[in-house]
Symmetry: C2
Subunit: 404 residues, 2 copies
């Protein structure tokens, strides 16, 4: 009990101007800060408290989902505070790298395991994702030219930005590794006249993407395949390659294998963009997220990516960090999700709603405090002296788009 | 002799549409390609040929400087060809990392050794560098908005671009690590109202910078110190930190120490830009450059930089690769250098001229074939949620500048 109060006090010390209270199972209530309360936390029993002390990140998520911890008020602000406090306790990257090397080989994502992991998350049903992903069905960080942009606008801006970085020209071939529900593939085909192969491991995604592509009359230009990036054996390498929000599922052990596949699949001098959640320094995935939300996932540091790319002659031309863009994206998803929460609870149950609520809010917090970021990396395979000298083409594209 | 001819034939096989000839000491002449000759190479004696076979990169440079190899025509194109052929022979990054780890600790750049290395190159005399660096005296990669920009324009554009990335505000403190002849420090003080401390290890640079700063009436805002980055102990950390074209002299062994110093010298939430020649994958420096031009130098991979930055909570926000900008910069330097070559030969001798000619031309070639690049990295110390969401501010700055 004393240990628990000590931890709560330590968290409270970093609360800034936030006001919050914690109520324990014995009725004891501790309040911090003045003015209207931002967050009220309730712990149901001693067992929950002991679990929190033993394994804070995993047990907080599990107890929240089970209803053993209740949070009223601003869940996102609470998660930011908890992550800030936890940061100070994290083992530094250097120490982690040694530990991680021992365990990562035991958890390699074989093609079979990858299929199971993908099904765990993405085959929940297209209808569920359609409730809160918006019209584009893009399940990755959007690009906010202004913080007030709505979700669909920001997702379209992301597609445009990616296609500009890819330097697409009509008639070229483009491989989209982890194409999701097909939004980017369709955009590239429709706006840039390229021929796209999109690959996914989710049957639900493939069905949706194919129907959407047929409805938009792009069937002759876009093909969706149920395939693993390791198993793809095209007759000729692709002119362009893009991967958005899929690398998270590759796993630390297979970063070199992924880059080897990219080098094999991309033509000499070809251009690619890799867009993935990442970190500043190598660190294990949050245990609750890794256990319950994204089994097998790993968020790479830029160092890990750059090293593996260098070894395969994938030459980095540009890196843009979209950290706060993902926080804004997750805010939009949370808002839309909450609108439909009663309906979701009716179909999937209350625990499911609590899991998704925590996942969305805690992820936004992780981007805001800097635990996570997004690496958007433009690269070429080997020497390519034809990329524009400056990034003005990205602004020019924006201006044209704004004028159209 | 047979081995030599074999090597020449192998080089010639990759010549593309270049026409060139090689004349040996015994009068034998081999020609490759048709039409007017781009390059004619002459080898003076058998000893030179044997040296080339044993240690091509080192001996080519030494023999060229000594006049044992003579090159007529396009030296830059010849160097591009040789580097392309040599690339195929290079040990991959992975193998190199193992070998390098063994030797790098033996070659750590102590503060004393750093001073000697810097004097070797930078204390040659301000008058010498003034002949070909242009008005800004900036001895690092310029920023070409158009390939036809003249050198001074491109260097000013570099200063402006760096200052925009630093997000300078009047009254802030800025540390310029390796300030050279003071051009960037003066620009930041004059245009952004910041107080700058510039550090250099070269007495000649310090003298020049101080005179220039006094002449521009910036003495109250800019201080130049003869100091090593490791020895700096400011009362308060700086709001901003920048380093342009100095990191090359840090050396592989001290990358972590450099990042530790950066983290110590920069305020929490502060913004920095690190601009350095680098590589796609770790590799040793060219032996001729490392022996005769830049002793102690090392060109880091992005992976090495990102890993060391992550370990010190330096959060990367943006990476721009300026590879072809340095090729263009070196072209301009070469042109200006050749204009003054007779005068330089009169003062420093013919060998000196040949050394600098080869250094400038072969470096441009190394950037063109992709052996070298420039990493311009914008970062913050820890969490900073105040950087602009998009890069539009860089374009906006350009537009304003173009209109003024």
């Amino acid at each position: 009990m004393k240990a628990l109060i000590g931890v709560i006090d330590r968290v409270a010390a970093q609360r800034g101007d936030m006001a919050f209270s914690v109520r324990l199972w014995n009725g004891e209530r501790r309040t911090y800060g003045t003015g209207p309360e931002d967050v009220a936390v309730r712990l149901k029993d001693r067992r929950t408290a002991l679990g929190l002390l033993a394994n804070p990140s995993l047990r907080f998520g599990e107890a929240y989902v089970a209803g053993d911890i209740e949070v009223e008020g601003d869940l996102g602000a609470l998660m930011e505070l908890l992550l800030r406090v936890a940061r100070g306790d994290l083992a530094p990257g250097l120490l982690h790298r040694g530990l991680a090397a021992v365990t990562r080989w035991a958890r390699r994502n074989s093609p079979r395991r990858s299929r199971r992991h993908v099904a765990h998350h993405y085959d929940l049903g297209n209808d569920f994702f359609a409730l809160w992903l918006g019209e584009t069905m893009a399940y990755s960080c959007a690009y906010f030219r202004h913080p007030s942009d709505d979700l669909d606008t920001a997702q379209e801006q992301k597609f445009r930005h990616l296609c500009e970085k890819l330097r697409l020209e009509p008639g070229q071939t483009l491989l989209d590794v982890g194409c999701g529900w097909g939004g980017l593939a369709a955009h590239a085909a429709a706006h840039h006249g390229v021929n796209v192969v999109g690959i996914t491991l989710s049957e639900a995604q493939k069905r949706h993407a194919e129907a959407m592509i047929a409805a938009r009359g792009l069937g002759g230009q876009v093909e969706i395949r149920l395939a693993d990036y390791r198993e793809l054996r095209p007759r000729r390498p692709f002119d362009r390659i893009v991967s958005v929000g899929m690398f998270e599922h590759v796993g630390q052990a297979l970063i070199p294998a992924y880059m080897a596949a990219t080098a094999r699949l991309l033509a000499d001098g070809g251009v690619g963009v890799l867009h993935t959640i990442g970190r500043m320094a190598p660190a294990p995935i949050d245990p609750w997220i890794g256990t319950h939300v994204f089994p097998g996932a790993y968020f790479p540091s830029l160092g890990e990516l750059a090293e593996a790319m260098g070894d395969r002659d994938l030459a980095i031309a540009d890196v843009e960090a979209w950290r706060l863009h993902y926080a804004l994206t997750l805010d939009r998803w949370s808002e839309a999700f909450e609108e439909h929460a009663p309906a979701v609870a009716g179909q999937y149950g209350e625990r499911f709603v609590r899991m998704w609520r925590l996942y969305l809010r805690s992820s936004a917090a992780a981007f805001r405090v800097g635990n996570l970021t997004v690496w958007q990396i433009q690269f070429t395979r080997g020497e390519n002296n034809n990329l524009p000298l400056t990034r003005d083409y990205l602004s020019a594209a924006r201006t044209e788009a704004a004028g159209s």
